[in-house]
Amino acid sequence: MKNRVVVTGLGVCAPNGVGLSGFETAMTKGISGISFHEQLKKLIFSCQIAGKPNIEDVDLNNYFTKVQLKGLDASGLVYGVMAGKDAWRDAGLHTPDTDGDPDWDTGVIFGTGILGVDKFRDAIYKVDAGDVRRLGSTAVIQTMASGISAFLGGILAAGNLVTTNSSACTTGTEAILMGYERIRSGQAVRMLVGSCSDSGPYVWGGFDAMRILPRNYNDDPTSASRPMSASASGFVPGSGAGALVLESLESALARGATIYGEILGGNSNSGGQRSGGSMTAPNSMAVQRCIRAAMANANILPEAIDTINGHLTATTKDPAEIQNWSQALGLKGEDFPMINSFKGHFGHCLAAAGSIECVAVLLQLKNQRLYGNLNCNDIHPDILNTIAETRIPKKTMDYPIKISAKASFGFGDVNACIIFSRYTS
């Protein structure tokens, strides 16, 4: 007997909204979180715009102890703990006291690409100056990839699996799938899952160097991220965190929890960097297999999918992604499900992208509302050869959604696809 798995809590720290209600408002109204960054201009970046959560007014004492806050210089860790703790509270679960036993039924899978880059930079300067003895005690915990799951695990007294996954821009979606499998197989009752990504030039610089970021929107940041449009000229780098509380249906019902949706199934795979796939480009065959396998795992037919939230980063690869969805589903034109990308709102949050976007997908499901795409008034002609323009909503609308598919793809030719469903008893 396999457990059904539902989502009972959400937390988010996104460039266009910190906290669930602010984020929901921004997504509904189509408010962009992309802005110009003076620091990037000073450093002579080609792309001087980015998506960065605004946490200036947040009282971090609500999330960290004062000892933890001393010398804390890992932005991804801050975003991740905020989103994670918020999701836990949103699920109606209490944060345990510092004494007492671990909660053996609760685990954490919280991914990241690289953590604490600013802290690491500081450490490197000290080490190079022969001053390693002055690094302090937190250089390791703020820069180890698993720092984020370690912090959250301690806060929640999690006694089940506590780990960090890493698969580039697939990370967030993959973390959710891994947590789902843990509960489904009966190894855990609830899992806090999600992902985070640091802000700043040391994370974004490598992408700027690859010339894959838009260069011509430094004076018009909110128009820069243009998923599915003919004028898409690269992804806008972002940062932040998204978190979900996954729980067995049995546990959720027993405590009368709010249920945002159910995870019906999913799949993750890799294109092996073969057949057109590479370190940086997806193997289309693998993408299609991943989507098909997710549907099979969820035991649904393509026609059952009401909405898709794509990876759709606003590069020249967007038409190929649409083509892959269409082929995998065997649907085109007006028969294709409604599709959106949230990268027009907050850019590409890298390791955090999948989790932040899944939070938005679950808000869509819960509220029976479809968020409109931003900056795609000039849809790419190759996309229009595959699906009808009506399938790409430009404004937020009320929309009946029973089943949503969400996919993320990442460097290394890795893919993940999840099938969410509205929960009905």
């Binding site: 102890t65 004062k66 000892v67 001393k70 010398g71 510092t98 002055r134 302090g136 005690s137 937190t138």
Partner: protein, 85 residues
């Protein structure tokens, strides 16, 4: 700087590493940093660095080993200040 001033200065440093559920009033000369004040042993490293900055001295690894209580720290601080003079 007299002994009272030194103690006060050290106490101010130690305060910032107390867990949220330990009161500042718990700090006394004979307090053991880890077993009584419940300070994470990893943070003793940070206390040493702050002490170095505040008293303009340098503590060696061996000095840290003997630093169990607030009084131990004061003794080491005094020794280092005396060595410098």
């Amino acid at each position: 700087m007299n002994e009272k001033e030194k103690y006060q200065k050290l106490k101010t440093i130690v305060e910032t590493y107390l867990p949220d559920d330990v009161s500042v009033d718990a700090i006394a000369a004979e307090s053991n940093f880890t077993t009584e004040l419940n300070i994470n042993s990893a943070n003793l490293v940070d206390i040493v660095l702050d002490v170095e900055d505040a008293f303009d001295i340098r503590l060696e690894n061996e000095d840290m080993d003997g630093m169990q209580t607030v009084q131990d720290a004061l003794t080491i601080i005094n020794t280092k200040i005396a060595e410098k003079a």
